[in-house]
Subunit: 414 residues, 2 copies
């Protein structure tokens, strides 16, 4: 990653992108906290780009207004409505900075030229023309940009879907060749486990993109997958840190300077339910048909387990998120007797996933066994197992989630 | 004015611009009322452009938020904040129309290309590229456009100042060669006097631009001057009508088909205070200096009266709006002894203006005298007089406002 910035005397000045979520700008006091934080960077001589979400629960307030008018409101008009949320945040932030004597300018998606795909509600960023942003930075202004929103080729507003403001920040950092992209949250960084579940969880100083991706997809919830993928693709160095204190946070990058840890973290995810479809004919195309039906309803399937044949039939188990259970069950039951010809469909709603993630796992065979042993010692039964190169996930009964997370955390001395 | 629209069979379809203010879209019920009203026009085959203000008191709510953060917030950022108000209105209106089954699309100032001068907070519309609007109209959509807002050459949001949404509507009607520009208010049209003061006031079916301009500047308050000026310049036929009922309203146009009325209306304005600056030297430049001091503080001066010389000195009286009294007094007192060298400055805060307006007045000498007679008969003392070609204004004590308005109204049998 090239060092970008202005050389003045012995100091190298940096270009920093800082992203703050809705809770960080929820009221006047917090807006000023963020403004002061950005001012510190600015006064060091750095160029500062700030990405903001809508204030507090404003997006939900707007969605409620829309639903009240039209429960099936067109997505284009929903995006037109929602984008007012971030525009309010950035304008107020610019006013706060002005009152602190710091030159600042707010830009919305039109002004920052955040070009996206056409899809309303779930667009992807395609291109940013950085001319205006560069001009404002070169004029020594802090540039405050609306997160989550873009414009498509029709010149209509789009929104980027969940975690969208993180993606805005990473895309801007990539387009501006920023030295760093800081994502501010309400936790101190990325931990070896959820500190609410595992009290002795430890903050990681560094983590690789791949580890972060596995953790994000496992419900660790600090960064959204799409932003980590984009950071990896463009080599943007991410820093996850707290907006409440000045601790160092966790750096997310390609290769850790530290020796590869065997296991860098334990993740728990309770938003999961397990389906078992029993007595399926053992012939080609059965699994395809099953998952095709689910895909047709946009139901994402996670851990899949296919049993060995027994008396000419086989069973398939898989997991979905809990909000998809009813629609998945409905879909499978409608097709159960006709195209699928299965004997029985069961759902376990009270299950959870426990995962260990670590780049060092690839070259170490005993990791999974050690995890299973720790769970056995803690009296936790394993319902299903799934692995990737840098991850091992087990499905267990939800009531054992905390016990299991602690046991696995201790087993790897995290 | 050319007839614009699509000829289908024997019907001529029209292009209509309809403007609704903040109270007309203040809640769900009213939003649907407006949506249905526009739908009726649409279903006749007309092309419909709707201009909306921010909902209810939303602009004031946003201004309060801004003041709380920074009482001297930069105007650019204020405009960035305020423009979210109309964007919210138009998005919700599009959703309401969609739920009624009417194709509609909302456009903000970027999308409708409402180019303005640079001035934040008080910009003037310069140019509208109607391509997008035409495309949407030709696709048989109702086009809902944010009033009050524009973009300047920096691609920054601007706002148009007081009465801005009316101006947006008139400018769109001019650019689109609309057949009619309907301004919806909470009154039935333009009256011969304020019905709250003069109970037998009558709604005028028609009025000329010039008459409307005089009435608007006299506090009749139905239409803002700038929008009437623009309508006159581009020959846009305005209709002022109620959003609460379907009565015909008042048509504002170049020439009334009716015989020119001697007097078409009586206007009363209580937002006025009178200054008297006594004992000024009678030499060139004194009046210039006096008004220059006030202009330097952006204080608008209205009716001016200069007395005949008496013992080498003269008096100057003038009126200002009441919110400007303190600053005007402060300014004059500071300069009173030095550059102005006047003997005495007095202020009458409890005065009001009564005016009669009528295009027929130009060719009729007795009008002013008839007005003064009516006031004399009613026991109302006149403090000051000012006239234009189609207007006579008198300044009186505020307590006589209603009596005077009624007396003058009756004298001209309005």
């Amino acid at each position: 990653m090239p060092v970008w910035g202005v050389q003045r005397g012995n100091e190298v000045h940096m270009l920093v992108v800082k992203k703050f979520g809705g809770t960080s700008v929820a009221n006047k006091e917090r807006i000023f906290n963020v403004a002061k934080r950005c001012m510190e960077d600015y006064k060091k001589g750095n160029q500062v780009v700030v990405v903001l979400s809508a204030m507090g629960k404003q997006t939900d307030v707007l969605l409620d207004m829309a639903r009240d008018i039209n429960p099936k409101a067109p997505r284009r008009e929903l995006d037109m409505l929602l984008t007012t949320g971030e525009q309010t945040s950035v304008a107020l932030m610019a006013m706060a900075m002005d009152s602190l004597g710091v030159p600042a300018v707010s830009l919305n998606a039109f002004q920052a030229t955040m070009h996206t795909t056409e899809d309303y509600g779930n667009a992807r960023l395609k291109r940013i023309d950085t001319g205006r942003i560069r001009f404002e930075l070169d004029s020594r202004r802090i540039v405050i940009i609306t997160g989550f929103q873009g414009i498509n080729k029709h010149d209509d507003y789009t929104t980027l879907g969940r975690g969208g403001s993180d993606t805005t920040a990473v895309a801007l950092a990539a387009a501006l060749h920023a030295d760093s992209c800081e994502i501010y949250t309400d936790v101190d960084g990325v931990f070896t486990a959820d500190p609410r579940i595992v009290p002795n969880a430890r903050k990681l100083p560094e983590i690789t993109y791949d580890e972060m991706l596995e953790l994000a997809s496992l419900g660790a919830g600090v960064l959204h997958n799409r932003s980590v993928e984009m950071a990896k693709k463009y080599g943007v160095q991410l820093v996850v840190r707290s907006s409440l204190n000045t601790s160092e946070g966790t750096v997310v990058k390609e290769e850790s300077k530290m020796e590869k840890m065997l296991v860098s973290g334990v993740a728990a995810d309770k938003n999961v339910a397990q389906f078992a479809v029993e007595g399926l004919e053992n012939k080609p195309g059965v699994a395809f048909k099953l998952f095709q039906h689910l895909a047709n309803h946009n139901i994402n399937v996670d851990m899949i387990l296919q049993s060995v044949e027994h008396d000419g039939t086989q069973d398939i188990a898989f997991t979905v998120t809990r909000d998809a259970v009813d629609e998945a069950l409905d879909t499978l039951e409608r097709h159960g007797e006709t195209s699928l010809k299965c004997e029985k469909i069961t759902v376990a709603r009270d299950v959870s996933k426990i995962s260990i993630v670590g780049a060092g796992m690839m070259s170490n065979a005993g990791v999974a066994a050690k995890m299973f042993e720790a769970l056995y010692d803690a009296g936790v039964n394993i319902r299903q197992i799934s692995t990737s190169e840098i991850r091992v996930t087990v499905l267990i009964d939800e009531k054992y989630t905390d016990v299991a997370a602690q046991a696995v955390h201790d087993a790897f001395s995290l």
